[in-house]
């Protein structure tokens, strides 16, 4: 093995001293395939001899079957040798763990640390899983302070954007006038003379519009460029950026500052339209920290309280204790009223504001009471003044310095994107720009509409656009340059907390030659042969104050490449002083609009899953359901049901139920309407969203791209057409009028509420949780059959099991697979027995589990039309339910992730006529794809409806673009009503084949049509872990005979993670061995909050859900929702009245005291207490720690 010529990246390893020592020798780790090999027995030697060339003689002597076997092996080898993915970058990149052998082992993934720049600044540290040199999956880097092993939907999906077949593939000259293919050499030759022309004018007339990101190397290049051409203009622009936060911080602290929130210290949080768990450069940190303050292990555990005032139901709103719908302007007014009540200032709250003073009083009292634990966070829809005011409020509460800290922010970063592009547009219009270089920006699509950027752009003499994906701007520039994806190029990036990470290539550019942004800038700055690797090293060595050749720097560099972070680069946190006077002055100038009315609507611009539009061509994100509306592939205007009704744009509905628009047409139909804002009009469909403030319209940005590729072209509506530089976040005085026609909306969830089935997603208030959570499980007397039923914990007492007689069989259950009653000696009495718990208390519904699963398990996307038919393929979905009777103003929004729950008593298994879905020895419900004939009976009998059927050949063979219904779409002009051609499942398109196939996970079977599939508990990861442990075991036995030949070490808890669990930023998903009493999953299964969804069916799911606990402010609840208060707070949910009540009462009294005692001795942050980087769970999949874990080889 070790003698094979291996990976070119390590071939010339003698250049680096550390590796040179061991090159060519076998003094390192020894690898072997069996014990026989270790001991070099005679049998093994003869086996090796037979297996290799001499074995050719077997062809003559042996059977036909052996011949076929050998042929198969040869073909496989030939295939491996010519793998299109075997494209290795030229420079050294360090495998993530030192324990990984230098040789690439075919079939084993390698993990490399890198980082993904975030739009608007900041970064995510990621690990890219590469198979045979091609990245297939993104994980969060556990050493990165932002990720800590977790990831966002965007980093998960970034691997798909790498393999986007619509990417720019080569430079083009004058593409707008006929698309002349050019080469990079052409551009270099042209550029050298063109840019030299600016030397005389010191760069006057030269302007750069770059994507706003934080990259030290790019900053260095900017300095170089401005040094060469001092009068060149440099603008950074990110359309989705919330400039208000930076401006507000500047006002509050007197200098630009990044604001950090340590939510682990927060006990009371008020969000003013801030979706802090999902948006922003530190969303992952917030999500993780916030969840750690919410996780209820025992009754009486501390729990934070979250108030959310928001204009559109969001992920953060769904985990709030009080979610109050409010238009952005009213939220501003509310903030001012709150500041008044808290004594921060005396602001005149606008007269027309619809502020409920009692609510202000209650919330402020609660915040005041919490003092330094209380924090107010403003969101992007709020003006800078309110952001500043929040800092003042936090200062007055005492949380400034503890919960809220700041770190310095560069002046460039602080400069508002909108101001930048306004300046640029002004310069362009006035004719002072002759050459515009756009680096990864797409202003022709996303610039504020009032700047008329398109006209100014067209008037420029020369425009150069560097872009990775196809873009509207590139298509109309003089030069369109194909960029290297961040997974293909060298670079660096700084996270919001200052941590610097290297960006290293996983693969040579797919469309070679391509340049990264820094290479292009270096070339413009004058480098003959720009080299990203050298540029980054140069910047870093300058930063470290060492020379590039320095041994010490090399060590630091290699360490950083390995870890994915530059050690010690995180910024120090300051306790900035708040300038109350400046804040007061700025807030005093703020004019807040009065409450919106039907004739004067308020419009909110927000970003959804495809961000500002840059991810429009990524199918995973297009098909990821919107958090609250569950709409995919579209951005209708969202309004509240009452507003839709008042404006006459309620979606088509049945005559019975006006808020259930799903039953009239084959696919749900939205009404088209014209939205007028500031004299600009946009026709778009209107969809209802419960829980939105009335007379408010929420628009998602980024849709309606015209040049981005087959997936994203013409999907949705371009809402940038209404967005101005004056009001980039929210605007008022809009009108909405019904226009003609309807529009198909595809949504993965067609119902808003649980329809009275309240036991599906159980929730309880903290008061009752504290009171009953410590009680002993209730053993109910079976009134019908006599005797005692199974003991029910608290969550189970809230469900059907409390009312239905036990499923009593007259036979002994031969399966007996449960942890509780595993039959001795049965296969299920031995570990590992896999199980999962999902905490509905902390799940915010961000959807990263869905994308991670899609990426890990090679799940196809199916397109809008198929989703509208109900054929989405995602294995894990997040069900969203609104609570309460009033759909217009629901009392809350709750999330419930559902994937296959791996029932021990699986209804799907008994009905499959061909034994294709069967139970594994470790308790997983497995599907043998090649046995499945597709009767779909299993899916019908699945009470959780988690099974997904391949209605067409989505995964593998293509129809060469032909598919059912194509002729209905044809080449007909795309009208707004029609489903456009771009919504064809992209995998059906022949041209996507070759490239996109490279993303598929080689450890997972690609399913053919006619086959059922569903969550496998990532069985490929389980198997990999088992092999790893087994190999280690054999090694141990060889070293250490005392353990005996039959010793099988268990797979340690957390040794590996399933994809959804690994990605989940709030740690809501826990997976492991339920027979191991020390495993996290087994402890959570024993928790009082654990219940089986539909457990009364006796399906015995291996995935249990943890009941949601809310921590409402009782006084506020009594004020806001007297009926709800009555039901929730003053009535014990565990007493059902009548005779029942007494029974419960007695037990509850017993348990009451215990619960509190237990609770207070435990810390609440169950997961957060564990230092992730010391978690042995990363040993396998992340390979962080080497032998230190005691398990890893």
């Amino acid at each position: 093995m070790s003698k094979l010529e291996q990976c070119p990246s390590t071939k010339d390893s003698d250049r680096t001293p550390e590796l040179a020592a061991s090159a060519g020798k076998t003094t390192g780790r020894r690898y072997w395939r069996s014990l026989d090999e270790v001991s070099e027995t005679h049998e093994f030697k003869s086996f090796v001899e037979r297996e290799f060339p001499a074995g050719a003689s077997e062809l003559l002597s042996d059977s036909r079957r052996d011949f076929v076997k050998l042929m198969g092996a040869s073909v496989a080898l030939a295939g491996a040798a010519t793998l299109p993915g075997c494209r290795r970058p030229e420079h050294h990149i360090m495998p993530y763990s030192s324990s990984v052998p230098e040789e690439v082992i075919p079939g084993k993934a390698l993990y490399y640390a890198t980082a993904m720049p975030l739009p608007g600044g900041g970064a995510e540290g990621i690990l890219a899983e590469t198979h045979a040199g091609r990245p297939t999956k993104i994980e969060g880097n556990p050493l990165h302070p932002v990720n800590r092993g977790k990831s966002s939907i965007w980093s998960q999906a970034s691997v798909l954007t790498l393999y986007d077949p619509d990417r720019l593939k080569h430079p083009e000259y004058n593409p707008s006038t006929g698309s002349k293919t050019a080469t990079w050499d052409d551009f270099k030759a042209w550029g050298a003379s063109h840019f030299a022309g600016f030397d005389a004018t010191h760069g006057r007339g030269l302007a750069f519009l770059v994507d706003k990101k934080t990259s030290p190397t790019r900053d260095a290049l900017r300095a170089r460029i401005l040094e060469r051409w001092p009068e060149a203009a440099w603008h950074a622009y990110c359309p989705s950026e919330s400039s208000a936060a930076a401006v507000g911080a500047q006002t509050a602290f007197g200098s630009p500052a990044r604001v950090h929130y340590d939510l682990t210290k927060a006990t009371r949080i008020l969000s003013l339209d801030s979706n802090f768990t999902c948006e922003g450069p530190e969303a992952l940190i917030h999500s993780r920290d916030f969840a750690s303050t919410r996780r209820q292990r025992h009754a009486g555990d501390d729990m934070s309280r979250l108030y959310v005032l928001e204009s559109c139901p969001s992920a953060t709103g769904s985990v709030a204790d009080h979610r109050i719908r409010m238009a952005p302007s009213q939220i501003s007014a509310f903030a001012m009223a709150l500041a008044n009540t808290l004594g921060v200032g005396r602001f005149s709250v606008p007269a027309g504001a619809e502020i409920d003073s009692e609510t202000v009083t209650q919330i402020s009292a609660d915040l005041h009471h919490a003092g330094a634990g209380a924090v107010v966070i403003a969101g992007p829809s709020q003006p800078a003044e309110i952001h500043a005011l929040c800092h003042a409020i936090n200062e007055s509460l005492g949380s400034m310095g503890s919960v809220v800290t700041t770190s310095p922010m560069g002046a460039d970063e602080a400069r508002s994107s909108v101001d930048s592009i306004r300046d640029l547009a002004g310069a362009m219009t006035s004719g002072s720009v002759s050459t515009l270089v756009c680096i990864d920006t797409n202003p022709l699509f996303d610039a504020p509409t009032d700047l008329n950027f398109g006209n100014a752009f067209a008037s420029l003499a020369t425009t150069i656009t560097w872009s990775v994906q196809a873009s509207e701007t590139a298509a109309r520039s003089t030069w369109s340059l194909n960029g290297a994806h961040f997974l293909e190029a060298w670079g660096d990036v700084e996270a919001y907390d200052g941590t610097v990470s290297p960006v290293q290539p996983m693969i040579a550019p797919l469309y070679d030659p391509a340049m990264s942004d820094i290479e292009l800038l270096a070339m413009i700055a004058g480098d003959e042969h720009p080299d990203g690797y050298g540029l980054v090293r140069q910047t870093w060595s300058a930063r470290a104050g060492a020379s590039v050749e320095d041994r010490a720097f090399d060590k630091l560099w290699r360490r950083a490449l390995h870890d994915g972070v530059l050690a010690g680069s995180g910024s120090t946190r300051a306790n900035a002083r708040v300038n109350s006077g400046a804040i007061g002055a700025s807030v005093a100038t703020l004019s807040v609009a009065s409450a919106p009315t039907e004739d004067s609507l308020e419009v909110v611009f927000s970003t959804g899953n495809i961000g500002d539009g840059r991810w429009a061509n990524c199918g995973w994100l297009q098909e990821l359901p919107d958090t609250a509306s569950k709409v995919v592939w579209d951005n209708p205007a969202y309004v509240s049901p009452a507003t839709a009704k008042a404006l006459g744009v309620l979606p088509d509905h049945t005559w019975q139920d006006e808020f259930n628009p799903y039953t009239k047409q084959q696919m749900p139909q939205a009404k088209m309407a014209t939205l007028t804002l500031g004299g600009r009009q946009l026709d778009l469909p209107v969809w209802i969203m419960p829980g939105m403030p009335d007379n408010t319209v929420v628009l998602r940005l980024g849709y309606g791209r015209t040049v981005c590729g087959h997936v994203g072209n013409q999907v949705g509506f371009n809402t940038y057409a209404l967005r101005t530089a004056e009001a980039p976040a929210s605007a008022s005085a809009a009108t909405l009028a019904k226009s003609s026609g309807t529009y198909t909306i595809a949504s993965t969830q067609n119902h808003w509420t649980m329809g009275g089935r309240d036991t599906i997603l159980r929730s309880i208030d903290k008061k009752w949780w504290d009171e009953h959570g410590g009680a002993a499980p209730k053993v109910a007397t079976d009134h019908i059959y006599g005797g005692e039923g199974a003991p029910l914990n608290m969550a189970e007492q809230l469900g059907e099991l409390n009312h239905t007689p036990r499923n009593i069989a007259i036979y002994d259950n031969p399966l007996n697979q449960s942890k509780e009653d595993a039959a001795p000696g049965s296969a299920f009495s031995k570990g590992p027995q896999w199980g999962m718990t999902i905490d509905t208390s902390t799940c915010s519904g961000c959807g990263v589990c869905t994308v991670a699963c899609q990426s890990e398990n090679s799940i196809p996307i199916v397109g809008k039309r198929e989703v509208a038919k109900g054929r989405e393929m995602q294995w894990i979905r997040v069900d969203r339910y609104f609570a309460g009777d009033d759909l217009n103003n629901p009392s809350g929004m709750m999330n419930q992730p559902v994937a296959c729950v791996h029932c021990e008593n699986a209804p799907c298994e008994t009905v499959c006529p061909v034994n294709a879905t069967v139970h594994g020895a470790e308790g997983t419900n497995d599907i043998a794809y090649n046995r499945c004939i597709g009767t779909r009976y299993c899916a019908n009998n699945c009470p959780y409806k988690v099974r997904r059927f391949n209605f067409f050949e989505w995964g593998w063979n293509k129809y060469n673009g032909r598919f059912y219904g194509e002729e209905l779409l044809g080449d007909a002009p795309i009208s707004q009503k029609d489903l456009n051609k771009n919504l064809i499942p992209p995998r059906l398109r022949q041209k996507l084949d070759e490239i996109q196939r490279m993303q598929l996970n080689p450890d997972v079977t690609v399913r053919s049509r006619g086959v059922m599939e569903k969550c496998t508990y990532c069985i490929q990861r389980i198997n990999e872990a088992r092999q790893e442990v087994k190999v280690k075991n054999i090694w141990d036995r060889a070293q250490n005979t005392e353990k005996g030949p039959d010793y099988q070490a268990p797979i340690p808890d957390g040794f590996f993670q399933v994809a959804c669990q690994q990605a989940c930023p709030s740690d809501s998903i826990v997976f492991g061995d339920i027979l191991d009493p020390n495993s996290k999953v087994s402890q959570w299964r024993d928790n009082q909050r654990s219940y089986m969804v539909l457990g009364y069916l006796d399906t015995r799911p291996r995935t249990s859900h943890l009941m949601r606990v809310d921590n409402p402010n009782e006084t506020l609840l009594a004020h806001l929702d007297p009926d709800g208060y009555e039901a929730r707070i003053s009535h014990d949910p565990l007493s059902h009245g009548g005779g029942h009540g007494e029974e419960h009462g007695g037990e509850n009294d017993d348990g009451h005291g215990d619960g509190h005692d237990d609770g207070h001795t435990e810390t609440h942050g169950f997961f957060y207490d564990t230092n992730r980087s010391n978690d042995s769970g990363y040993a396998l999949s992340l390979r962080v720690l080497g032998a230190a874990t005691g398990v890893h080889v």
């Binding site: 039953t663 069900d879 009905v911 034994n915 004939i933 009976y937 067409f952 059912y964 049509r1009």
Partner: protein, 529 residues
């Protein structure tokens, strides 16, 4: 041999060259129908009207099979075979493209496919019921309808067999359903009701086919002998194609009688009308009737297990087996009536063999089974309420019945209207005795029974346990045309049967005619029995 040889005379008459001594058919009486209805319970009404002789019965049945095809038949088979071709095309399209061409989705995984399957398999029940159970119960009136009812059964089972066959995702692996020994040691899952279906339906199809075919041997032999006699006496017609304008073209092909003698000869497997043959025939018939009788009950019970053994509210119902069997008989008789009432008018003199009394008897069965089905509907509802299981109750109340919230309420109420209400008109004798009124109700019942299966399957699936995953089902044009095509296949087969095989069981019919009773009582038919 003289030209007056009696054999020759008969053969010429058979060939239509000589006038026969036919008694013309009689018109229906004003009050007592066609005379097959007798008010006096002591009087057993005639099973064959117009005092037909054995020879006339033979001539009516066999003569029709031998005569040139009538115009209505040619038109009907043209249309139905075209529809069948469309259905076949849909099936090919489905197999080539994928199950996604239907409107199914991940929530409603079965819809029209299994609806059609259960619909057709249900229709396939009446034939065997008439043949087997009524035979064992010595219901002599069955002889007039059993042949065509059995044929209908076979064709319905063929249509039923198509749907589970093509609805699977990978048709080319459907053989995995059979317990074929293989080197992997993988067997079908004997716990799955779908597998029981495979056995139940294939057994039923086999036994029904045997029963039908065996019962037909003597009659086929009659056709063989008649063709043979015409051939031997040289009075066979050549193969003639009638052209418009009265000009006929004789094709240089073997005479139809040659083909008849050959094919019917093969089919009658050496039947010589010997006493020994008759003896064994009677015994075998009884044995097959005995085997078929439990099958009538078992097949639809097992089909109902597909639903009853599942855990889905609306499917998970213990009442299903008897309810399905009753429904199958109900729907099957409706289909028999739907086919035979027009046939009775279209085929010459057939009204003498298939009388108003037959129709009335079958109408009574429809009334009874319809009420059994109605009882099952109400019991389902009652139990859903009585169980106080919210999921169960919702499945009935809010997914089916309540028009305010149930999207498929119209399907449910169509079912109730057709299956429970429409047969109630059979309480009135006048309606029962009016063939066209009965025919209309039969159509209603057939439609209702299709909707019954649709309601059970789709409304239970589209809103199952978790509201997060509720989804509607809408059929695509492929769904619709596949079902229509299966009707075309069914009708084509039936029309071919009607034209080329003995539509009535001549031998059995003759056995229940008064002439068969050699022990006297030849004046008043059946009096004193």
């Amino acid at each position: 041999m003289s030209s007056h040889h009696p054999d020759k005379v008969t053969a010429e008459r058979l060939a239509g060259l000589r006038e026969g001594a036919h008694t013309p058919g009689r018109d229906d009486g004003p009050n007592l129908g066609d005379g097959s209805l007798v008010e006096d319970p002591a009087v057993r009404p005639p099973l064959v009207l117009s005092e037909r002789t054995f020879g006339e019965v033979t001539q009516i049945v066999a003569g029709y099979a031998e005569d040139p095809a009538p115009k209505w038949w040619l038109i009907a088979i043209t249309i139905s075979s075209m529809v069948a071709a469309v259905g076949t095309g849909m099936i090919l399209y489905l197999i080539i493209t994928g199950v996604g061409v239907w409107g199914l989705n991940n929530q409603v995984d079965w819809a029209w496919d299994i609806t059609n399957f259960v619909f057709w398999i249900g229709i396939g029940h009446a034939g065997t019921l008439i043949s087997a159970i009524l035979c064992l119960l010595k219901q002599k009136w069955r002889t007039a309808v059993n042949r065509s009812a059995e044929a209908m059964t076979i064709f319905a089972v063929i249509c039923a067999g198509i749907f589970p066959g093509i609805h699977v995702g990978r048709v080319w692996f459907a053989w995995m359903l059979f317990p074929i020994p293989n080197s992997n040691g993988i067997w079908p899952n004997f716990r799955s009701p779908l597998l029981w279906d495979v056995f139940a339906v294939s057994t039923y199809a086999t036994v029904s086919l045997l029963f039908w075919y065996m019962g037909m041997i003597p009659d086929v032999a009659t056709l063989r002998d008649r063709a043979d006699r015409r051939l031997r006496l040289g009075v066979s017609r050549p193969f003639v194609v009638a052209l418009p304008g009265g000009r006929d073209v004789t094709l240089p092909l073997p005479k139809p009688d040659t083909l008849r003698a050959f094919i019917y000869g093969l089919m009658s497997i050496g039947w010589r009308f010997s006493s020994r043959h008759w003896h064994r025939y009677e015994a075998a018939y009884l044995v097959l009737a005995g085997i078929s009788t439990p099958l009538v009950l078992s097949v639809h019970s097992i089909v109902s297990f597909d639903f009853a053994t599942s855990i889905l509210p609306g499917w998970h119902t213990t009442i299903f087996p008897p309810y399905f069997v009753a429904g199958a008989i109900f729907g099957g008789f409706a289909m028999v009536l739907f086919l035979l009432i027009p046939l009775r008018s279209l085929l010459p003199n057939f009204k003498d063999l298939l009388t108003i009394r037959h129709i009335e008897n079958m109408a009574k069965i429809i009334l009874v089974t319809g009420m059994m089905v109605g009882f099952a509907y109400s019991m389902e509802f009652f139990i859903a309420w009585y169980s106080s299981n919210i999921f169960e109750f919702e499945a009935f109340a809010n997914n089916r019945v309540n028009p305010r919230v149930a999207p498929y309420w119209w399907a449910y109420w169509t079912m109730i209207g057709c299956n429970v209400l429409s047969p109630q008109v059979f309480w009135f004798r006048k309606v029962r005795q009016n063939p066209w009124a009965v025919w209309v109700v039969a159509i209603f019942v057939t439609v209702g029974m299709w909707f019954e299966r649709f309601v059970i399957i789709v409304t239970s699936l589209h809103r199952a346990f978790l509201p997060g995953e509720w989804h509607m089902f809408y059929p695509t044009w492929v769904d619709i045309l596949t079902f229509v095509g299966s009707c075309g296949i069914f009708l084509t087969l039936f029309l071919l049967f009607v034209k080329f095989l003995p539509v009535f069981a001549m031998a059995e019919l003759k056995a229940v005619m008064p002439q068969a009773d050699t022990h006297g009582h030849d004046d008043d038919h059946g009096e004193g029995h």
